[in-house]
C-alpha cells in the first residue's frame, strides 16, 4: 500500500496540491488535504466541473455539508460507483480515501501529468531561473555597503561609459589571392597600422567597437544574402555586376531627387535658395553627371546674381562700418544725423544697385538676342554652302556627259558592255554569296539551338540552385531550433533527474506482474485440485449409489424369507439415510462457514469504515446544522 500511496501523493503534487514532505501515506491526510486533492484532480480532469468548487473547506457546518455533497456529486458524475457522500471527505477512512483518490488519479489526463512533471516552453524555464536567482539573492548574507564592491561583482560600478564606437581598421587577408591589395595598403598594414586594441582609447569603447563591427558585418552579410537570393540570382548577373547595377540605380534615384529638390528650391526665397543651391551643387558635382551641372547652371544663373547682390551689401557695410568710428561722436544729435545720412546713402546706393542690375539684365537680354541672330546667320550660311557643293557636283556630271557626246555610239556600246559585265559579276557574286550563306545560316541556326539549350540548362541550374539555397536556409533554421530544443531538454532532464526514477517504477511494476502471474498459476493449480476432488466425490457418490443399490437388492431378496435379513435391510436403509443426512449436514456446515467468513469480512469492512463513530459524527453535524438553522431563524425573527 505504501507504493500506491506514494504514487497517489506524487500525482497529487503534480496537480499542484501542496503536500508536506513528511506526509508519506494517505493515513496522514487531513480532511482539508483530501478535499484539496480531490478538487485539484477534478479541475485537471474537467475544468468546468472543478473550477466551481473551492479548494478549501468553509468554516460553517452547513456550508461544509454543502461543499462535501457537491464534491460527492461531482465524483459520481465522473463515474465513481462506490458509496460516496460528504462524510467521505470529512471523516473518510483511509480505505475510502484511497479508493476515491485512486479513481481520480487514474482519470487524470495524461498531458497534465506530463506538463506537471516537466514545465514546458522557454517561458517556464525562464521563470524558474528567475525564481532560482531570487532565492539565491535572498539567501545571500547581508553585507555592509562599504564591503559590497568586493563581494558582489554584479553590483560593482564598472568602467561604464556611453555607447560610442570607433571604426576599427583591420588588415585584409594578404594570403588570399582573391583579394586585390595595393602595395601601399600592404605597407601600411604591415608597418604603420596599430593593433586593433590600441586604435581606441578605453576598454569600453574598444569592446563596443569590436562588438559593433561584428554585428554590423553579420547584418550586412545577412541583408546581402537575402537580396542576392531574391533579386540577384533571377537577374542572371554576376555578383559584381549586380552590385554595379544597384549602385547606378541608386545614384540615378538620388540624382532625380536632388533635381526635384532644386526645382522646388527655385520657389524658395532667394537667400535660402543660395544656401541650398551651394550645397546641392557641391553634392551634384560630386556625382559628376554632366546634365546635372547644366541643369544647375540654369538654375543658378539667377541665384548667382542674387548672391552677388547680397554679398555686396555686407561688403559695403563693412566698408561703412569703420567710418563712423573715425570721427569721435560727441552728442546724440550728431549720431542721429550720421545715422540718417547713412540711411540715405544706403538707400541711394541700393537704388543705384537696382538700376545697375536692371541695366545688366537688359544687356544680358540684348546679348542673348544677338547670339540668337548669330546662330541663325551661321545656319543660313551652312545651308547655302551645302547647296553650292550640290550644284557643283551636278555641273561636273553634266560637263562629263557633254564631253562624251561627240563619240556617242562608241560610248553607248562601251556602256552596254560595262553594264553587262556588272550584271554578270553581280550574278557571279550572288552565286558565291549563296554558297557562303547556306553554311553560315546553318551555323547560326545551330548556335542558336545551342544557346537555347544552354539557357534552358542555366534556368534549370538556377532553379536547382535556388532550391538548394532554400533548403540550406531551412536546414540551418531547423538545426538551430533543434539545438535549442536539445539544450532545453538537457537542462530539464538535469532538473528532473533527482525525481523518482523511471526504471525503479518499471522494475516494481514488472515484479508485481510476476507476482500476479505466480498467483494466477497457483490459483489454476488450486482450481484443478478442486476439480479433481469434485470428480473423486462424484465418483465415490456414484459408487456408493451403485453399491447401495446392489446391497439393497440382495438383502431385499433375502428379506422376504429371512427375518434377520429383513432387520439387516431396515438397518441398511437407516444407515444410508443417516449417512445422507450426515453428508448434508457437512455440506450445510461448509456453507455456513463460508457465510460466517463473508460476514466476518463485512464486519471487518464496517469496522474499517468506523460506522459508529462516523454515525456519531454525522449526528453531531446534524445537531450543529440544526443549531445553525435555529440561530438563523431567530436572527430572521429578530430582524
Amino acid at each position: 500500500m505504501e507504493e500506491l500511496d506514494g504514487i497517489i501523493i506524487h500525482s497529487l503534487r503534480q496537480c499542484g496540491v501542496d503536500i508536506a514532505d513528511e506526509v508519506n501515506s494517505l493515513r496522514e491526510f487531513t480532511a482539508e488535504l483530501t478535499v484539496e486533492g480531490v478538487v485539484r484532480c477534478l479541475r485537471s480532469i474537467d475544468p468546468a466541473l472543478g473550477n466551481a468548487i473551492a479548494t478549501t473547506l468553509p468554516p460553517g457546518m452547513s456550508a461544509r455539508f454543502r461543499a462535501g455533497t457537491r464534491l460527492a456529486q461531482a465524483c459520481q458524475d465522473l463515474g465513481y460507483t462506490r458509496e460516496v457522500g460528504y462524510h467521505t471527505f470529512l471523516y473518510g477512512s483511509e480505505v475510502e480515501t484511497r479508493n476515491l483518490l485512486m479513481f481520480l488519479v487514474e482519470r487524470l489526463p495524461r498531458e497534465t501529468m506530463d506538463s506537471g512533471s516537466r514545465p514546458a516552453g522557454k517561458l517556464a524555464v525562464l521563470q524558474a531561473s528567475i525564481a532560482a536567482r531570487i532565492r539565491e539573492e535572498l539567501s545571500a548574507p547581508w553585507v555592509p555597503p562599504f564591503c559590497r564592491p568586493l563581494l558582489n561583482s554584479w553590483q560593482r560600478p564598472g568602467l561604464a561609459c556611453p555607447f560610442r564606437t570607433v571604426p576599427l581598421s583591420v588588415p585584409g587577408d594578404i594570403t588570399d589571392p582573391m583579394v586585390h591589395i595595393t602595395p601601399e595598403e600592404r605597407r601600411y598594414w604591415e608597418g604603420h597600422l596599430k593593433l586593433a586594441a590600441f586604435q581606441v582609447t578605453g576598454v569600453g569603447s574598444l569592446i563596443m567597437s569590436i562588438l559593433q563591427r561584428n554585428a554590423n558585418e553579420v547584418a550586412t552579410a545577412a541583408a546581402w544574402e537575402t537580396e542576392w537570393s531574391t533579386q540577384g540570382l533571377p537577374s542572371h548577373l554576376s555578383a559584381d555586376e549586380f552590385r554595379e547595377r544597384k549602385k547606378e540605380g541608386l545614384q540615378k534615384r538620388v540624382f532625380e531627387q536632388m533635381r526635384l529638390a532644386v526645382s522646388k528650391a527655385n520657389q524658395m526665397t532667394a537667400q535660402q535658395q543660395t544656401l541650398v543651391n551651394e550645397d546641392l551643387q557641391q553634392i551634384l558635382q560630386s556625382f559628376g553627371t554632366e546634365s546635372g551641372s547644366e541643369e544647375l547652371l540654369k538654375g543658378s544663373r539667377f541665384t548667382h546674381t542674387e548672391k552677388l547682390v547680397f554679398q555686396k551689401e555686407p561688403d559695403k557695410q563693412e566698408r561703412q562700418l569703420p567710418r563712423p568710428s573715425e570721427p569721435v561722436i560727441t552728442s546724440k544729435e550728431e549720431q542721429q544725423a550720421a545715422e540718417k545720412l547713412r540711411e540715405e546713402e544706403v538707400a541711394e546706393l541700393r537704388q543705384k544697385l537696382d538700376e545697375l542690375t536692371m541695366k545688366a539684365e537688359s544687356l544680358k537680354e540684348d546679348s542673348k538676342c544677338l547670339q540668337a541672330g548669330i546662330a541663325q546667320v551661321s545656319q543660313e550660311f551652312g545651308e547655302s554652302e551645302e547647296q553650292l557643293t550640290e550644284q557643283r557636283e551636278v555641273a561636273r556630271v553634266r560637263q562629263r556627259t557633254l564631253s562624251l557626246l561627240p563619240d556617242a555610239g562608241n560610248s553607248i556600246a562601251k556602256l552596254h558592255a560595262m553594264v553587262e559585265g556588272s550584271v554578270q559579276r553581280i550574278a557571279n557574286l550572288s552565286g558565291q554569296w549563296e554558297g557562303h550563306r547556306a553554311p553560315l545560316l546553318q551555323k547560326i541556326r545551330e548556335l542558336r539551338q545551342l544557346q537555347l539549350n544552354q539557357e534552358e540548362k542555366l534556368a534549370w541550374k538556377m532553379t536547382h540552385l535556388r532550391e538548394v539555397r532554400d533548403k540550406r536556409r531551412r536546414i540551418a533554421v531547423e538545426v538551430q531550433a533543434k539545438e535549442e530544443l536539445q539544450r532545453q531538454l538537457i537542462s530539464e532532464y538535469d532538473e528532473t533527474a533527482q525525481d523518482v526514477s523511471r526504471s525503479a517504477y518499471t522494475q516494481r511494476i514488472l515484479e508485481i506482474v510476476g507476482n500476479i502471474k505466480k498467483q494466477k498459476e497457483e490459483i489454476g493449480k488450486i482450481l484443478s485440485d478442486t476439480r479433481d476432488v469434485q470428480k473423486e466425490i462424484n465418483g465415490l457418490s456414484g459408487k456408493l449409489e451403485r453399491t447401495f443399490a446392489v446391497a439393497e437388492d440382495l438383502i431385499f431378496k433375502d428379506a422376504k424369507t429371512d427375518e434377520t435379513a429383513r432387520k439387516v435391510y431396515k438397518h441398511l436403509a437407516a444407515l444410508h439415510e443417516n449417512c445422507g443426512q450426515l453428508i448434508d449436514t457437512i455440506e450445510d456446515t461448509g456453507a455456513v462457514m463460508r457465510e460466517i467468513r463473508d460476514l466476518e469480512e463485512q464486519m471487518e469492512a464496517e469496522r474499517g469504515r468506523e460506522a459508529v463513530t462516523n454515525l456519531e459524527k454525522i449526528a453531531g453535524d446534524f445537531r450543529a446544522i440544526r443549531q445553525e438553522n435555529s440561530l438563523l431563524t431567530s436572527q430572521l425573527k429578530d430582524s
Binding site: I130, S153, I174, L195, F198, A221
Partner: protein, 194 residues
Amino acid sequence: MELASTVRAGLSACTATPLSPSALHDLLRICFSALCARHPHEPEFDSEELSSLNGATLKLCHFGLMGLILEAARHAMEPTELGELLDEYKFSMECKRVFTSAYQMHFEKLSDVLRALSPSSPVLTDVSWRLGYSIRNNFLHRVDQLNYEIMFHSENMMSPSSKDVSFSCSPEQLQDLIAKLKDAMKSIEKAGQA
C-alpha cells in the same frame, strides 16, 4: 552566435600561418589584457615567432581572436561549445586547450566588464536619517511637529561621484514608505518560491 567575415578571416589566419601553441598563448595574453585591463599598455612581442610574423597577418589574427573572445563571452559559451567552434577553424588540440583554458580563466572578468558596459540606474549605497522636531518657523509661532529627514546615497556607474537624494517626511509617510518596501520584499520572496 554569428561571426563576421573579418573575424572568421582572422581565425583562419591563425591556423593557416600556423601559430604554435606558445605563440597563440602570447597573442591571447595581449588580447585579454587589452579587453580586461583598465589601462592596457602597448604590447611588446617577446616571443620570436610573433615578432617574426608578418605584421598584417598578426593584426588580422589579433582582431579575429578578440572578436571570437568577445562574442563567446557575450553568449556565455561553454568551453566544450567553444572547442567545437574552434574545430571548425581547424585549431590543433593543443591550441584548443590553450584557448579554452585562457578563456575560462578570464571569463568571469570579461563578463563583468561586459555587464558594466550597459547603462544602469544609480545604485543605492547607503541611507542616512535624522529625526527633527520643529518648534516654530517663520510663519507660525508654534508648529510642534516631528519630521524625518531621509537621505539616499546613490552611486551611478556613469559618474563616479555619488549623487544624493534627500527628502523630508512625516512619521505616517515614513510608515507608508516602509510598508511599500516591505510589500516589495514580500513579493520578491513569493516570486522566489514560485
